[in-house]
Amino acid sequence: MSQQPLVELHGVYRSFEKERVRIPVLQDIHLNVYPNEVLCLVGESGCGKTTTGKIIASLLDASEGEVLYNGRRMAEYDRKERSLIRRQMQLVHQDPFASLNPAHTIGQILGYPLKRHKMVNGRAELRRRIWELLTLVDLTPPGDIVNKFPHQLSGGQRQRVSIARALTVNPKLIVADEAVSMVDVSIRIGILKMLHNLRDMFNLAIVFITHDLALAKYFAWEGRIAVMYLGRIVEIGRTQDIIANPAHPYTRALLSAVPEADPNLTRKKQPIPLRSDEIPRLTAIPPGCAFHPRCPFYQPGVCDVSVPRLAQAPGYAQDTACIPLTTGEQLVPYGT
């Protein structure tokens, strides 16, 4: 990809302070988001997916490292440009019940940004645009929706309103933070398909944050997946490569746990048992590779000494952060 990335994260660290204890949430994140691509961030809860998403959406600053928007740091832009850049990155929240203000009607929620940024001229155009947006997110007939309050809509409908609100300012990138995890399963596919259509229609890039690898596989089949573990990216590459040939032991374990629709296939799957089910706390991240206490292919003296860096391993198309793999060794189950 030779295009100019929309957002570049170079060696980004982010930590939060809680009761005078520094909690490192993100460590050494290198990530580019290109125009019109689908990038999935996958990982367990607490691994820093949402924080990464918020940094991409410029809602949070990095503690260390560089974040470039359209090739420049936010501080290099003047006020007007900054506002424009900020609007190019929109966030769709996880909880559709909390992301819409209960005091406003849907028409008002969509109208405020349109009016504020002068996206429309006059009342008639404003109303036309609101109808258009509601039609785009399949909330039809729009006339029934505009005068309703959020509490009168279902979870799926609200999530569609929240996507429509993100579209009001013509963004180039949408960060969908677990956007369908709180929506009924029967409605999820509809919303995901709609997001795909919108991406084609408006040339959007979508950063899709999820803990569900099956969902990531479905949604980002044409795009990329970044697997995160305890604040680091452990594997990143094209979805098809990762699903067909997972490199990092953590990704392998995750994939082996994904149930398949075919029961025969699921039964044939060999689950990769982890050595421990306990996720280490962020305040006490293990030395070396953070995954080594749970890794079934742990090599003492190698994995617990130095921190692995993302690199292409021989035999794999994607980048992975695993020392034995990147040095060209075979993974041997621990204890044999």
Binding site: A57, S58, L59, S83, R86, R87, M89, Q90, L91, H93, D95, A98, S99, L100, N101, P102, A103, H104, G107, Y112, P113, R116, H117, R123, A124, E125, R127, R128, W131, E132, T135, P141, P142, G143, D144, V146, N147, F149, H151, S162, R165, A166, T168, V169
Partner: protein
């Protein structure tokens, strides 16, 4: 406000204001809201002249319009597809649509008022006192001077227990207690409301500033409020009142407000701190809607019921403080006033005589009932202002 109380001019203004909603109601066959609008205009015009009639004409007409508008073709509520809809509208259509939306809100609010029984009783109580202080003077004459001619044969004082002629009896100077109850609420209620408004304004401004700006501003405001909270309020009020020697009740309201904002300020600060972390505020930041929009449109509407409830509590506390000051003789003693009635009855020994029992009790009961109405009314406020509880519109 009370200069224009209940005059014939006010009645005429109210009548002409009421003609608009009534006429609209008759023309579009919405007789009931039309008549209600007419009566509302008439009464508010009668009570406050232009200041009551003109706002009421807008409100009541909006309600009538909202009934009529339901049946009209509105591109915003139709089921047509995008190409069939004509989004152009004239200014007149726009005004009508806005009025209909205002009317719907008023209807939803009044429905919220009716939903809670206790709250509605409180509302009726408050209305009773308002009507009594505004319209009472039309019926009952105020007796300020001593009435020597009412002395009964053989009696040593003018004090009299209730009788058919004087339902609440006569006070030490032979004046009708009913007239003092009717006239005595005005000053007390207005001063309490003034104190409540000012206290709420200070608290909301400082509370939101502290929560939104944080850092040093937050620490300074919090420290100041903690400082004021630690001082015993009533003794301080007493000392200040005796030093300052008020000659008008507005200054008293200012003093009460200055001393009573910290508790509400802390509550508002906590609310804003919680509300500003909501997802929809974050969405407003990524949409770059600006700080003013975030405060006024995203945060404020969600705490308005909370502020209204606390405003009522502030009014209640101010009223107790004023009565307390009057009882101790630390406030301007201008009759008629419920507080001064208690003071007079106490100093003239009515507490110790069976004949004077109504003189002592009447103002106490009036104050207690008004306070009770306020407290009951707060129950309805949540239902009036919370859009989530508005159904069906």
């Amino acid at each position: 406000m009370f200069e224009t109380v209940a005059t014939t001019t006010g009645l005429i203004i109210g009548f002409f204001c009421g003609l608009l909603p009534l006429g609209l109601g008759i023309k579009y066959q919405q007789i009931k809201p039309g008549i209600i609008g007419f009566v509302a205009c008439l009464l508010s015009g009668f009570a406050c002249g232009m200041w009551g009639g003109v706002p009421m004409i807008i409100l009541s007409t909006s309600v009538v319009v909202s009934y009529i508008y339901v049946n009209r073709q509105d591109p915003f509520t139709s089921r047509q597809s995008l190409d069939e809809v004509d989004f152009e509208e004239s200014t007149q259509e726009y005004i009508v649509r806005q009025m209909a939306s205002l009317g719907r809100t008023i209807r939803a609010m009044s429905r919220g008022l009716l939903r809670n029984k206790g709250g509605f009783i409180g509302f009726l109580g408050i209305m009773f006192f308002v009507v009594m202080t505004v319209f009472g003077p039309l019926v009952i004459e105020y007796e300020g001077d001593i009435q020597m001619d009412r002395r009964q044969p053989g009696a040593t004082t003018l004090l009299q227990p209730p009788s058919w002629e004087y339902p609440l009896g006569l006070d030490w100077w032979g004046r009708d207690i009913v007239s003092h109850i009717v006239y005595g609420g005005q000053n007390l209620i207005i001063t309490s409301i003034q104190a409540g408004v000012m206290s709420t304004l200070i608290a909301v401004t400082l509370g939101s500033l502290a929560a939104l700006l944080g850092g040093l501003v937050d620490q300074l405001i919090s420290a100041l409020s903690n400082f004021i909270l630690t001082i015993p309020q009533f003794p301080l009020l007493l000392v200040l009142a005796s030093i300052l020697e008020f000659d008008n009740s507005f200054m008293l309201a200012v003093l009460l407000a200055v001393l009573s904002w910290p508790a509400l300020m802390r509550a508002v600060r906590a609310q804003v701190l919680s509300l500003k972390e909501r997802d929809y505020v974050e969405a407003a930041i990524t949409l770059d809607l600006g700080l003013y929009h975030i405060i006024m449109r995203e945060i404020f509407p969600n705490m308005i019921s909370y502020i209204a409830i606390n405003f009522i509590f502030a009014v209640r506390a101010a009223m107790y403080a004023i009565v307390g000051l009057v009882l101790l003789g630390m406030s301007p003693l201008t009759e008629p006033d419920w507080g001064i009635m208690i003071w007079n009855s106490r100093t003239q020994g009515a507490f110790y005589s069976a004949k004077g029992i109504t003189w002592a009790l009447a103002p106490i009961v009036a104050i207690a009932l008004f306070q009770l109405s306020l407290i009951l009314f707060t129950r309805s406020l949540e239902e009036i202002f919370n859009p989530r509880l508005r159904k069906g519109l």
